[in-house]
């Protein structure tokens, strides 16, 4: 008689996937996002395996060998110092990734705590904390970054830090916004009604839900960090240590040669930047769409 009550599964119940798995599947079916993922994964892999992948020491070369156009020996040619451009791009992935990751994770660390406090406490505390964010946001970003770099002296970490400072108010505001929205949700109410209190609600119920937009923003911030670092390089505030290849600096050092016979020296680092940034952006967009089922197209 069991069959009397036989139920057809609810539509969503037909697939045994978790929420994340669901998002992942949406991601997998999103063409541009997959391109982004491939680019990002490739970029990370290149950074991780740089010592294995790079055909030459990125730092060794003599000016006698300078400006060798791409050849089987030097696939992407050599730069002004006679160093192998491919190897420098491969090692440069590390620096770029480092700047991106460091700036975003530092920005996240501070921004999240800040935003969580403001959003969770609410009231006057929130009000004034947000005014501080307003102050930070109303300072012209690039100038702020440059000022910090000037203050701390050039270097990869400094740049990452300066970009992180720029990210803090963005992340903080984003997180606060979603926390405020989530604080009044029924499921938070439900959790309170069974006796759950402050920290637990914040950590278990609010944060995991509030973090989604931040994850997306962080992915995009990774991309922005790489471009920003390149821009800083152009203005002369790049990581000045010549022994550490970095894409932005490579481009900055060579863009002058774009029209004078050695265009490839600028072209390849430029392409590396564009591809990695594009990768993060595509992935970020894809994440936005797949983490938010409403935006499904």
């Amino acid at each position: 008689m069991a069959a009397v009550t036989a139920a057809t599964p609810a539509p969503a119940a037909t697939r045994h996937r978790g929420l994340w798995a669901d998002a992942a599947s949406r991601l997998v079916h999103n063409g541009p996002a997959m391109v982004g993922l491939v680019l990002v994964v490739g970029f990370i892999a290149v950074a991780l395996f740089a010592p294995i992948l790079a055909p030459y020491n990125p730092d060794a070369g003599t000016i006698i060998n300078r400006f060798k156009p791409p050849s089987p020996e030097h696939l992407l040619g050599t730069d002004l110092q006679g160093r192998d451009i491919l190897s420098r791009i491969i090692w440069g992935a590390r620096s770029s990734l480092w700047v991106a990751v460091l700036s975003v994770s530092a920005g996240l660390a501070v921004g999240l705590v800040y935003g969580a406090i403001a959003g969770y406490l609410g009231g006057l505390v929130d009000f004034w904390m947000m005014r501080v964010v307003d102050v930070m946001l109303s300072l012209p970003g690039l100038l702020l970054t440059i000022t910090i770099v000037v203050f701390l002296g050039p270097g990869l970490n400094t740049i990452a830090f300066a970009i992180a400072v720029e990210n803090i108010p963005i992340f903080a505001r984003l997180l606060r916004g979603s926390i405020l929205g989530l604080k009044e949700t029924d499921y938070v109410m439900a959790s309170r009604s069974v006796g759950a209190r402050g920290q637990r609600i914040l950590l278990i119920h609010i944060m995991p839900n509030a973090i989604t937009p931040v994850i997306v923003a962080a992915t995009l911030a990774l991309a922005t960090a790489i471009v920003d670092a390149a821009g800083l390089g152009f203005l002369g505030f790049g990581p000045q240590d010549p022994a550490t290849p970095e894409w932005g600096t490579m481009l900055t050092d060579t863009y002058r040669y774009l029209t004078s016979g050695a265009a490839f020296t600028a072209f390849f680092p430029g392409v590396a930047i564009v591809l990695s940034v594009l990768g993060f952006n595509l992935l970020g967009d894809g994440l936005r769409e797949s983490l938010d089922p409403r935006l499904k197209r």
Binding site: R66, Q240, P242, R256, S260
Partner: protein, 565 residues
């Protein structure tokens, strides 16, 4: 000077002269390497857009220290004495028709041109000239300290000033009396900072108030001289315009162009792009890697200035390990200058082996360091107090490109490879050029570093004479005259004595020999590794004619004209 971008002619033509043309200076390099084709009869009219590197920083003549300000001042102000176009040392009458020097070499009498007016209508006469000279002598307190050339030429204000008195003789004659003889006084008078400015304008626009005072609007709104061009307008960050002075006192030399606009374009690649796209007519400081680009474009011409700058890798002998001569020698032998110059200065520089440029009569090949020899470098290092791997700090500046140091980081990187090849272990050190690189360098904080020098005077006294002529150093910027010792830590009494002798020697031939002797001594000490003698280049549209490049960058735009096409 080293920090100030450029300029200033020189010539120690010590012989007093009443004639308009003095004889060729004995020590100065020869005339421009190339000249814009005169290409027929000058055409009047038109505007030339000059793609410069930055805005002028002041146009109150006596405060000027940077090249861009020099360039404009040169057109709107006139000095008592001028340089002959394209030369570094040939004197020519300016606002003074002629001049006499008293036998004791202390009193100079200037006979002024007559019928000259400032562009605001104020007559230029002895009173106006005296007003200017007195202003140099008694520079208003708020302006003091910003007057680099006033200080270097006259040494200070009031009681400190080298000028003892200024006397009016008649309406068109006046004299300056110095406290002690100064052989290069006349040459110094050709420097743009000593251009004549209208007393009326200076007063009207409160030029004597502090530059920070909003009421002092002189140079931004009304710099007034007698020159072939006059101020039109200044839009900071956008352009600076001068226009033809329609009432120029010397019609034969009146400007052809109606106006010249200076458009600051900081980045050299953008500057070239602007030239090639026709946005500007002429640009200064074409990069070495761009020379071919300009040459191969048949709508463009290249205007070369012969070298008057030296770039070098210098040591501070008071710091380890560079207190050891062998270490310095090892570094000197390790560097392949030829490779360096062909990589970074193709067409703009030649391999240097001395602080003196080889166009100077006193130049003599370096007998201590005879060339690139890595093996020798290795051996020297091995036997030194700092055997391989010898760890050294090597400083280079960020955010600058100088004629003698076009790509500091790139050059550093290249030299680092060379040094490490012979057993040095180089620690890269860098600081922003504007952010204290020079201050720390001048204070002797760097063990080894990049530095360079653009001669204001084509005279050894202006180079090695400044760096190494004293053996005792005061190292916190207190002394104005020879502070450079702090940076190099060269403390060899023999060198100091030899140089002092050379600087004091009145006879040209003896002086040349004295300098050769002094240079031998200094070269033996290896206080630095001279890398390159560098010139610079302008790029111009082929419609620009009559532009005569000068090694000192004192170029006169009234000679320039523009063909229609």
């Amino acid at each position: 000077g080293s920090s100030t971008a450029t300029t200033a002619p020189s010539a120690a033509s010590s012989a007093a002269s009443t004639s308009a043309a003095s004889q060729a200076a004995s020590t100065a390099p020869s005339a421009a390497a190339s000249t814009a084709p005169s290409g027929g009869t000058p055409v009047n009219g038109g505007t030339m857009i000059f793609g410069s590197a930055s805005d002028p920083s002041t146009l109150d003549a006596i405060l000027i220290q940077d090249g861009e300000s020099f360039r404009i001042a040169q057109q709107i102000y006139e000095t008592l004495i001028k340089l002959k176009p394209g030369t570094a040392s040939d004197l020519e009458p300016g606002l003074a028709k002629s001049w006499d020097v008293s036998p004791d070499g202390l009193t100079y009498t200037f006979h002024l041109q007559t019928g000259v007016m400032f562009t605001d209508g104020t007559p230029f006469n002895a009173d106006a000239a005296i007003y200017n000279v007195n202003r140099w002598k008694n520079l208003p307190e708020p302006l003091q300290g910003s007057d680099y050339y006033d200080i270097t030429v006259f040494g200070g204000y009031g009681a400190d000033s080298l000028i003892s008195s200024v006397n009016k003789i008649d309406d068109s004659t006046f004299s300056i009396t110095l406290k002690s003889p100064k052989a290069d006084f006349l040459t110094a008078m050709t420097l743009a900072p000593f251009g004549m400015q209208s007393p009326t304008a200076l007063q009207k626009y409160n030029a004597d108030l502090a530059p920070t005072d909003p009421k002092n609007t002189y140079w931004q709104t009304a710099p007034t001289g007698t020159g072939p061009f006059m101020f039109k307008e200044f839009v900071p960050g956008d352009h600076y315009t001068i226009v033809k002075n329609p009432n120029y006192w010397d019609p034969a030399n009146a400007a052809h162009l109606d106006s010249v606009v200076f458009k600051p374009i900081a980045d050299s690649a953008n500057r070239l792009a602007a030239l090639k796209s026709g946005t500007v007519d002429i640009i200064d400081f074409v990069d070495a890697n761009q020379l071919n680009d300009v040459k191969s474009d048949n709508t463009l011409q290249l205007l070369m200035r012969s070298p008057l700058a030296i770039g070098k890798y210098a040591f501070n002998q008071t710091q380890k390990p560079f207190n050891d001569l062998k270490v310095r020698e090892a570094a000197a032998y390790a560097i392949d200058k030829q490779a360096l110059v062909s990589a970074f200065f193709p067409g703009l520089g030649t391999v240097a082996d001395s602080d003196l440029i080889n166009t100077f009569p006193a130049y003599e090949p370096n007998q201590t360091i005879t060339g690139y020899d890595p093996q020798k470098a290795k051996d020297l290092l091995a036997s030194s107090t700092c055997p391989a791997p010898c760890s050294i700090d090597f400083w280079y500046p960020d955010n600058t490109s100088r004629p003698y140091m076009v790509d500091p980081k790139g050059e550093f990187e290249a030299i680092r490879q060379m040094l490490e090849a012979v057993g040095f272990k180089v620690n890269p050190q860098h600081k922003d050029w504007h952010g204290g690189y020079l201050t720390a360098e001048a204070n002797g904080q760097y063990p080894s570093f990049f530095i360079g020098w653009i001669y204001d005077y084509g005279d050894p006294a202006d180079g090695p004479g400044l760096f190494y002529a004293t053996s005792t150093a005061k190292c916190n910027g207190v002394s104005y005259t020879t502070p450079h010792n702090c940076e190099f830590g060269e403390d060899n009494p023999a060198v100091a004595a030899a140089m002092a002798k050379a600087i004091a020697e009145p006879d040209a031939a003896t002086r040349t020999q004295d300098w050769k002797d002094a240079m031998k001594l200094i070269n033996a000490d290896v206080p630095d590794v001279p890398l390159v003698w560098a010139g610079s280049a302008l790029g111009a549209s082929t419609s620009i004619h009559g532009y005569i490049p000068s090694p000192t960058q004192s170029e006169y735009f009234n000679l320039v004209w523009k063909s229609n096409s």
